[in-house]
Symmetry: D2
Subunit: 286 residues, 4 copies
């Protein structure tokens, strides 16, 4: 195997039918590709087939030509197809407020080479993280949000995201609810981190809710944001044990580590093209 050959990751989904695995792998083989990983799933209830396949492009075509040909092939077998070429790092924007733990965590992981992307923009409704963003060398857009100016602020945000060719938005503890209009309009995935094990404690102040109920573990949930608040497809969840000794402040502090890890895991899975969404759930190939 040529170690430096470009790689393609394809995600397919569609109605289950006999022979799909064979058809896909044969196509790749016949086109000179070498399969590195392949994973599939079928949901017998829904009758849907899902596949993630990654291959080294070793034929005569370029990766771009191969990708284009694979799209056509996907159509021909009735599969919805998404193809990504390794090295084409998508542009990502972070939306933040004042809390900085997920902000630093994501940027440091990116700088350490963990995320195949380019963090190209920070948008915030506060100026708190302006200097830190600039120290990291990332453009920072301060767009304040008040109740009466929210729709204008969102219009500004959308314009900025479009202008910067942003392919993924990460709400890294952004403390504003994005409106259904924003989420319907944006046309790109938005990943949010909610600080509870959803569906428990949706909405505001989940650590306060958890403390009041006297639960023995707290959680964090990374999900795609949809027009229904905290109801979008769940990507990853984690929990940590707590005891009667822990105050709300302790939960907030303990929660930070969970939030960082959970959001980073979800972002990583997304950027590696491991996630397919259907029926408000996710298939996450590992």
């Amino acid at each position: 195997m040529a170690p430096n050959a470009p790689r393609i990751v394809a995600l397919l989904s569609g109605p289950d039918q006999k022979g799909l695995v064979s058809k896909v792998s044969s196509w790749i083989f016949e086109n000179g590709g070498n399969i590195i990983h392949a994973d599939q799933h079928h949901d017998p209830e829904a009758g849907v087939f899902f596949q993630r396949v990654e291959w080294a492009v070793e034929g005569e075509r370029t990766a771009e030509e191969d990708a284009k040909a694979f799209y056509a092939f996907g159509d021909s077998i009735g599969m919805k197809t998404h193809v990504a070429i390794s090295g084409c790092n998508p542009k990502v924007a972070l939306m933040v407020s004042k809390a900085d733990h997920c902000f630093h965590d994501l940027i440091l992981r990116w700088k350490a080479g963990d995320f195949p992307c380019e963090i190209a923009l920070i948008i915030s409704n506060h100026e708190t993280l302006k200097e830190a963003s600039e120290n990291y060398g990332i453009p920072f857009a301060y767009i304040p949000v008040a109740r009466e100016t929210k729709s204008e602020a969102e219009a500004q945000q959308l314009a900025l995201l479009k202008q910067n060719n942003i392919e993924l938005v990460i709400m890294a503890r952004y403390m504003q609810v994005l409106s259904p209009i924003f989420l319907d309009t944006i046309g790109k995935p938005v990943i949010n981190i909610h600080h509870s094990f959803l569906p428990a404690f949706a909405g505001a102040k989940p650590y306060h809710q958890a403390h009041k109920r006297g639960v023995k573990l707290i959680g964090a949930t990374a999900h795609y944001a949809t027009a229904d608040l905290d109801q979008g497809p769940i990507i990853h969840q984690a929990v940590a044990n707590i005891t009667h000794r822990n105050t709300v402040r302790d939960l907030i502090r303990k929660g930070r580590d969970m939030e960082k890890l959970t959001l980073a895991t979800a972002v990583s899975r997304h950027l590696e093209n491991r996630i397919l969404v259907y029926e408000n759930k996710t298939v996450v190939f590992d």
Copy 2:
């Protein structure tokens, strides 16, 4: 320290006041006791103090005399007090239906010496576990429950529990809801295992609910049963990771291990007199 001296565990709770730790430890010291463990907690918001203290009775009095004197002392400092003498194993009843995993697990742990109690009675609304109970040498009472006979059945259950001097009831996947009347009347703690991370997925068929929502972890919650279904004070919780591959059947199977461990942990903590309840929450001293 006399290794075979009888031991006393006292649980105290009441309005916080300066010097409580000192008063309690001085009382024990002056009465010839030797403190083995002591743990305390105070809730600054509620202004309540909690203590668990365990000591070896090495003075001239018997453990029973010491216990009686300590109750009087507890009263004198305004504390609600519960005292248990080691070796006085309380009688416990299991309520079961058809599922046998928690049933076997609890009995085998008890037989292995993990639980300081006597499992004295099995009550079931099915005959499924009759033979297994008898093989273990534990009396089995079959009390069928139908909608129209439920109150009579509960009256029978209550009579049986009283007659057998049962100090703790464990709902080991008993698939009937105990009525508020039963729970108000029984006068003894009832521990239930619910197969979700409460407050998520309360009520019926939590694994089905979890599968439908597409969560990435499932849970189990052991709590004291109260008149509000699945709303009682939580004792212990645990979770396990799941993926898109897992069917409802997989969740049920995976869940069994969590249910066993979570219920066993809660029962153990209760029998070791580690739990205090207040404001629908628990203090669990470890």
Copy 3:
């Protein structure tokens, strides 16, 4: 898909070569099979390819004919091949001493339908679990082992295993070291549970070693037994947190749950034909 079609699981391993995934899936498709799961792995350093593929037999041949044909196909592409037909439950023997936690756990899981096998024989060097075995309806062979009679005892064990067509031996806390001769002769896999996170604390009394060293977690390791004591290929490992409060007795008690879960997981993976061994390591397809 025919829901009641028999299923075949094939495990393949051999020198990596381009197009293997395609060849295997095409063979299955062309022979009327419907792939349910397929997973593969290649070790780029060793240049070895591994695959597990499970399919529903929906062509005109029986599962037995299909299996036979697949063996021939595996040979033709230079792969070492193992094929299992669903429903053909292999016979399993447990080797036990006095400790009964893994013994009960494995048998109860099997009776609950978790293990596709038949637990056909218990072998022990003590009579402790004779009655319990018989209550479960499983033949119990008491073969005492003393230093001077060990080789005779092992000869007896081997004869019994062969005579009963045992396909898998599980050392469920069997407290004798099996000799290299036994392990070289048996010709069937032997799974052992060691009560530490190997390679730490190999050999005797691992909980005592762990307590002495003052570690903050204890572990359990399920592995295939080989002639090198505690050095065989690791299948599964788990750990639990401990504190300075825990005595050796506590570690032993806490460890039981880990041992049960770890061994049960390893046995399950093995019986579902998910494990391939190479270079003293395992590939465990999940």
Copy 4:
């Protein structure tokens, strides 16, 4: 309770004797203190008693006077005593090389208010993290280490630590072994993070060792550095699951999160005066 009263934490250890808990709590009560937390442990084998007690100073003396008086009291009952006053943040030095994950993690936690200390100095054998240190506003000392200059370099390090009144040294993935002479001379605690679950894989390249052995989990261990490499008292350990798919590079990446969390937990416990060392083990009060 006066919410802004200064607090004292005392750690005591010494030969077990009847009435210690009572004596300590009575002293605090009689001196006007209000116990916030108290935890104790006794090792029956070693016959040693350990206590951590935290109280609000509400009498007429200052915290400094109270602390001094408590030292005298500790002496009078034969206990080795350590007393810390809240708000007196000790100075801490980080020793680093090129890897920056623990470096950023510790500093960001400190800046977030998680650590009651002052990170006053970074010492490194490389210049890699010079700029980052300066951005954080922390003095950076570059002291290169070569085999032949090691003792001089260590002398320089020791001088610098002394000169800056450093009370705790944290080896945040410092890739040089500190000599026994250094560790015997320094007279202050040194916390190290080792990237394996010790005692497994002590020494160099633990992730390579783990990969070679085929373990199913990797670990991290924070311990006090002693003259015996990787043999010092263990403070905290954590593990993460790995599979056959993970390369050494994956282990290194996965390991970073464990290393960060494990080291941060150990540092936090140390700075909160929760740790007592005896017989090469730790008592860690939580």
